[in-house]
């Protein structure tokens, strides 16, 4: 009896050892791309000489638990997903340095640890000032000129004066209400304009300053004026009352010329059968030109050195970034915006297409808002935006209250 048991155990161990040599395992968290990735991995395995196995665990908390379980099982994954500094810090010791690998030359959105490239961007998401090209054409505004706040000021004024003629309710479709739960648009995404627009992707000077409770006076003043400008030309009712659907509906029905949202709204835009051309203009809040939209990867693939197949795992990622099949999978099958400049396939959806064009042109600014303390952007800054939107406070008070709130960050 005992002998048989030992035999079986030995066999199992031998088998798993063989399979460990032959397989690489990816543990990932995007349920919506699971089928596409499985299919791509199966195709890839045919030519690669080793098998790529995909394990998908959905949802953020489920994923983190599943990932811990995979590590605890002793059969560590070769590739897994991190969603930011928290995940990186946790697995730092196992994560391979991919500096100089082939794929790194095609992207600016890799996860960096100092100068070390460690994370392969799964996709990118982006936002800017989406515009309805038909309306801008009718008003004689060239969106390419919207690269500084003076151009915006002039464009807003012109559109506002032509509201009736163009059939507009307001110039911008913007939301800031707490009750409809839209403070992430203001307190996180809009605030990030202050944090990164005009800066190099690796430049964290402004966010570092904010985390110390301080602001760059001139830059912050310009930012607050930009917020006030957007609010001034938005529908006041929409600002405090509008939901995500209402905000989109106003833009999709041609009732506004601009729309303050990201390319994650694309499925909804497709569902509404919107047929006018649209794209992103920069959130240019300075008097100097800043020609770029805000693009970042929400998650990254990292390679586990400990699992022993780092080479194959990196090959897999290189192929994803540098083969037709990889591009086809990312854009057409998984409907993502690849973070790579060498991808020539165009996404079918309008905002994603615009994000990809800006990204390919290398004109992007990063996202730093997730470094803010928990709840700070949505819960502490959001309400201040809402008061400016409702007219409860004026622009100078807004600026002062924002500064006061930021000053409390070191004590949080």
């Amino acid at each position: 009896m005992k002998k048989i048991l030992v035999l079986v155990l030995a066999l199992v161990m031998a088998l798993s050892a063989v399979s460990a040599l032959a397989d690489i395992t990816i543990v990932q968290n995007k349920v919506e791309i699971d089928a596409a990735l499985q299919e791509y991995a199966a195709e890839f395995s045919k030519d690669a000489g080793y098998n790529v196995k995909v394990i998908t665990a959905g949802g953020s908390s489920d994923y983190n638990t599943a990932l811990k379980a995979e590590f605890a099982s002793g059969k560590e994954p070769d590739i897994f997903v991190i969603e930011g500094p928290t995940g990186y810090e946790l697995y730092k010791d196992k994560i391979a340095d991919m500096t100089g690998e082939e794929w790194t030359q095609y992207t600016a959105a890799a996860y960096m640890d100092g100068d070390k490239v460690v994370g392969f961007p799964v996709a990118v998401e982006g936002y800017g000032m989406a515009y309805n090209k038909d309306i801008l054409d009718k008003a004689g505004i060239d969106p390419a000129t919207l690269t500084n706040v003076d151009a915006y000021q002039a464009a807003f004024e012109k559109l506002d004066s032509m509201k009736e003629e163009l059939g507009l309710d307001a110039v911008v479709s913007m939301v800031a209400g707490t009750a409809p739960g839209m403070t992430w648009v203001t307190g996180l995404h809009n605030f990030n304009i202050y944090l990164t627009v005009g800066l190099d992707r690796n430049d964290t000077s402004i966010i570092d300053q904010v985390l110390e409770g301080k602001v760059d006076e001139d830059r912050f003043h310009a930012y607050c004026e930009y917020v006030a400008l957007i609010f001034k030309y938005s529908d006041p009712e929409m600002l405090i009352n509008g939901t995500q659907d209402m905000q989109l509906a106003a833009f999709a029905n041609g009732k506004t010329a601009f729309y303050h949202q990201g390319n994650w709204m694309d499925p909804n835009i497709v569902a509404l059968n919107v047929n006018f051309p649209m794209a992103y203009a920069p959130h240019a809040f300075l008097h100097e030109d800043t020609d770029g939209i805000l693009v970042n990867a929400p998650s990254w693939y990292v390679v586990n050195e400990n699992a022993g197949n780092a080479e194959q795992a990196i090959d897999f990622l290189n192929a994803l970034a540098d083969t037709e099949a990889g591009h086809d999978y990312m854009v057409n099958k998984a409907a993502m915006v690849p973070a790579f400049t060498n991808v020539t396939i165009e996404p079918a959806t309008p905002l994603s297409k615009s994000v990809m064009e800006w990204n390919a042109a290398g004109k992007t600014y990063s996202w730093q808002q997730y470094k803010l303390p928990d709840g700070f952007g949505m819960g502490t800054l959001g309400p201040i935006y809402e008061m400016l939107a409702s007219g409860a406070i004026d622009e100078p008070t807004f600026e002062q209250m924002m500064k006061d709130a930021i000053a409390t960050i070191p004590t949080l």
Binding site: G177, T178, A179, P373, G375, E386
Partner: protein, 305 residues
């Protein structure tokens, strides 16, 4: 071996009784008492709710609470909301109870109809009413040219508490009505008839006979509405999520954020578990004191037949 006894003695019976109690007592201890005590301990630390690291900081959290505009505003708003809500729910429930125990036609239909809103969950109800307040009522207001109704009542800091009272009354009055109905039906018809023979009007009979005889129903109903209003969370979350923003002590605060939502947000949104626990302890003490006072006042008014 001793012969098996057919009847157990006093001691054995005690043990048996105790054993039957164990599952309930254990569950109560594990899910109520132990977390409660641990919660009090956490309120003296700086725990963030996630990391294992925590230091005992003494009364620092309690001191921070009383200088925090957000909490003070939530406290005052909760008191205000409770005051209006207790009155509104009980007046509405009592009037509905009178209606459905009278001889009015279709009273069984009313009885069911008034109770139905109570069957809808708070989150669903909050979302439905949010739609009513933000889309339907303003449309009605604009069509009729009523200025006060043409803007959403839940995005105005001055009207938002009233809007929450309306929603909660709509939901909860039917439930309290049932308590009043049961109580009214327990009162002998002879007393009411005797009074009416003596020439007492309907409202005299209600105020002088019905209400004093129903005092125990008022005790329980007021207790339920009082604690329910104080602990209001689900409708608050789904209807307004604490918004809109208003100024209080020179700081931006959430105009309709009640205590429970404020505590939840402190603990989970801002990851300040210890501070949230300290607020919860204060909340518990206040709620116990207020309900004890209410019950003892009401009890003294009850009469025995």
């Amino acid at each position: 071996m001793e012969k098996q006894k057919l009847f157990y003695g006093r001691r054995e019976r005690k043990i048996t009784e105790f054993l039957f109690l164990v599952p309930t007592v254990l569950a109560f201890l594990l899910v109520i008492i132990v977390p409660f005590i641990i919660g009090i301990y956490y309120s003296f630390t700086d725990w963030d709710g996630v990391n294992a690291a925590k230091n005992v900081v003494g009364l620092a959290n309690y001191r921070a609470i009383f200088t925090e505009p957000g909490f003070l505003h939530a406290f005052l708003t909760t008191v205000l909301f409770t005051l209006f809500n207790v009155i509104a729910v009980n007046v509405a429930a009592f009037l509905m109870a009178l209606l459905v125990t009278s001889n009015v036609k279709g009273r069984n239909l009313y009885r069911a109809g008034f109770f139905v809103p109570n069957l809808i969950g708070g989150i669903v109800l909050g979302s439905i009413w949010q739609f009513i307040f933000s889309s339907i009522l303003p449309a009605v207001g604009k069509a009729l040219g009523w200025g006060w109704l043409s803007a959403s009542l839940i995005t105005n800091p001055k009207t938002v508490v009233g809007a929450m009272v309306t929603v909660n009354t709509w939901q909860y009055a039917g439930y309290i009505m049932m308590i009043y109905v049961a109580s009214i039906q327990g009162i002998s018809q002879q007393v009411m008839e005797a009074a009416s023979v003596d020439g007492a009007t309907y409202w005299t009979r209600v105020f002088k006979i019905l209400m004093p005889l129903m005092a125990n129903a008022f005790t329980i109903s007021l207790f339920l509405t009082l604690t329910n209003s104080f602990k209001m969370y689900d409708v608050n979350l789904a209807l307004t999520n604490g918004g809109p923003t208003t100024l209080f002590m020179g700081k931006p605060v959430q105009a309709s954020e009640l205590l429970a939502l404020n505590i939840y947000n402190t603990a989970f949104k801002y990851s300040k578990m210890a501070l949230g626990q300290a607020k919860a302890v204060i909340f518990f003490v206040v709620l116990v004191v207020v309900s004890l006072v209410q019950v003892s006042i009401n009890k003294s008014k009850e009469v025995e037949m």
